[in-house]
């Protein structure tokens, strides 16, 4: 889970101009001012990074980064 969170923050840093020290597991995507298209872009990037299928509603703007990491980790376990 921590590993997934760190890699997710890595995607946010590389693709969305977000500094790692700006965010915590509690930070929501709303707070990062990421619009709905940005969440789709993040989902696509995460799909490549973690090798799991991520649907449109898996990452919502009201979710925190920690919640998104948990959702991705759960998928990774279920296919792993």
């Amino acid at each position: 889970m921590n590993d997934v969170y760190d890699r997710l923050v890595g995607l946010l840093t590389r693709g969305f101009g977000i500094e790692p020290d700006e965010v915590s597991t509690e930070t929501t995507f709303n707070e990062l001012e990421m619009d709905s298209l940005a969440l789709v872009e993040l989902g696509l990037a995460a799909q490549d990074e973690f090798g799991v299928k991520i649907e449109d509603d898996d990452i919502r703007s009201s979710d925190s980064i920690g919640q998104a990491a948990e959702a991705i980790a759960a998928k990774a376990v279920s296919i792993g």
Partner: protein, 333 residues
């Protein structure tokens, strides 16, 4: 010897009237920064009330013929989402407008993928020996189907037309259409649609509140699907052409949205600089977008003879596709 369809002329036409983001902001709840950050679009062209799709197509077709140094073609294929009328097709009018006599002429309906479908059909007619040349036109007066109150579609779409002349030639000649991928998935037919006015919900049956004659799009789902489909299709044709991603000189994607285009390049592991961008000046012109972007890329020195180019598109249907071409020495007009 096998006959190939070779690109021997390229024409483009945009109606002169420009609508800037600031113009839209005066009518709708939007602004320049909002439109640019979400779409990458700064302005679009819109045709006036007297101009129909066939008028734009005739102008682009005339220019493609001139670019090829020819006065005629054996066949006309028009890819459009916005025909002059639901019946008949627009292409016969275009053929007549170009003084091509009684040549075969028909429309192809694959929304934003229409131009690539048109290339596929035209390439087949030439390869089979049915005709020796085909004018393939992508033309749209997309403004004619937009909901005046819908800020998302009003900001994205523009009018215009682009055309290529395909002529029979050697498969190894520069400009010969290379590997082509075309696909569709009708389970996504509701994603990009004009809900009413067809046989499912005819104009005469219901004109109440449920009747919707305007273009609608489910943005988020389309975004994801467009990125996945275009990237996979572009990689497929590049692979079949024997090119590594590094060897692709220019990707000419359907000009849907700058963020979609960049996401396609990222997914292909292609540097974003090798993605042709025209929509900042013309918006998304649907079936006209790929030929217009090709002409723009040549005019700006981004696409040179001998370059390996991959075109890819995604549109309503849903449909998608890609085509690989070694770029010929043509001057767009």
């Amino acid at each position: 010897m096998t006959r190939a369809a070779v690109i021997s002329g390229l024409g483009s036409w945009l109606p002169p009237r420009i609508v800037t983001n600031d113009d839209l902001a005066r009518e709708l709840d939007t602004d320049d920064a909002w439109i640019r950050s979400r779409t990458g679009i700064g302005q679009r062209h819109t045709a006036d009330d007297r101009t129909a799709t066939s008028d734009l197509a005739v102008e682009a077709g005339r220019r493609a013929l001139k670019s090829a140094g020819r006065e005629s073609a054996d066949c006309v294929v028009v890819a459009t989402t916005t025909p002059d009328r639901p019946c008949p097709a627009t292409a016969p009018l275009v053929a007549t407008g170009l003084n091509l006599g009684t040549v075969p002429a028909f429309d192809v309906a694959a929304v934003c993928t229409g131009f690539l479908y048109g290339l596929g059909v035209a390439g087949g007619l030439i390869a089979a020996g049915t005709v020796d040349s085909v004018l393939v036109v992508g033309a749209e007066k997309f403004s004619s189907i937009l909901d005046p109150q819908d800020r998302s579609t009003r900001a994205i779409f523009g009018d215009g037309a682009g055309a290529v002349l395909l002529t029979a030639g050697d498969p190894d000649a520069p400009g010969a259409l290379g590997p082509l991928d075309l696909a569709s998935d009708g389970t996504g037919s509701d994603l990009i649609t004009v809900p009413s006015g067809g046989s499912r919900e005819p104009f005469t049956a219901r004109t109440g509140p449920g009747y919707d004659p305007y273009f609608r799009m489910v943005g988020k789902t389309v975004f994801r699907s467009a990125v996945e489909r275009m990237a996979a299709s572009a990689l497929d044709v590049a692979h079949r052409a024997g090119w590594s991603v590094d060897e692709v000189d220019l990707l000419v994607p359907h000009q849907a949205n700058l963020r979609i285009m960049h996401a396609v390049a990222d997914r292909m592991k292609l540097p974003r600089e090798r993605c042709a961008v025209h929509l900042d000046r013309v918006g998304n012109t649907a079936a006209a977008a790929v030929p217009l972007a090709l002409a723009d890329a040549v005019e700006r020195g981004r696409l040179r003879p001998g370059d390996r180019v991959v075109m890819t598109a995604f549109g309503g249907g849903i449909t998608w596709g890609a085509c690989a071409v070694r770029w010929p020495d043509v001057t767009p007009i």
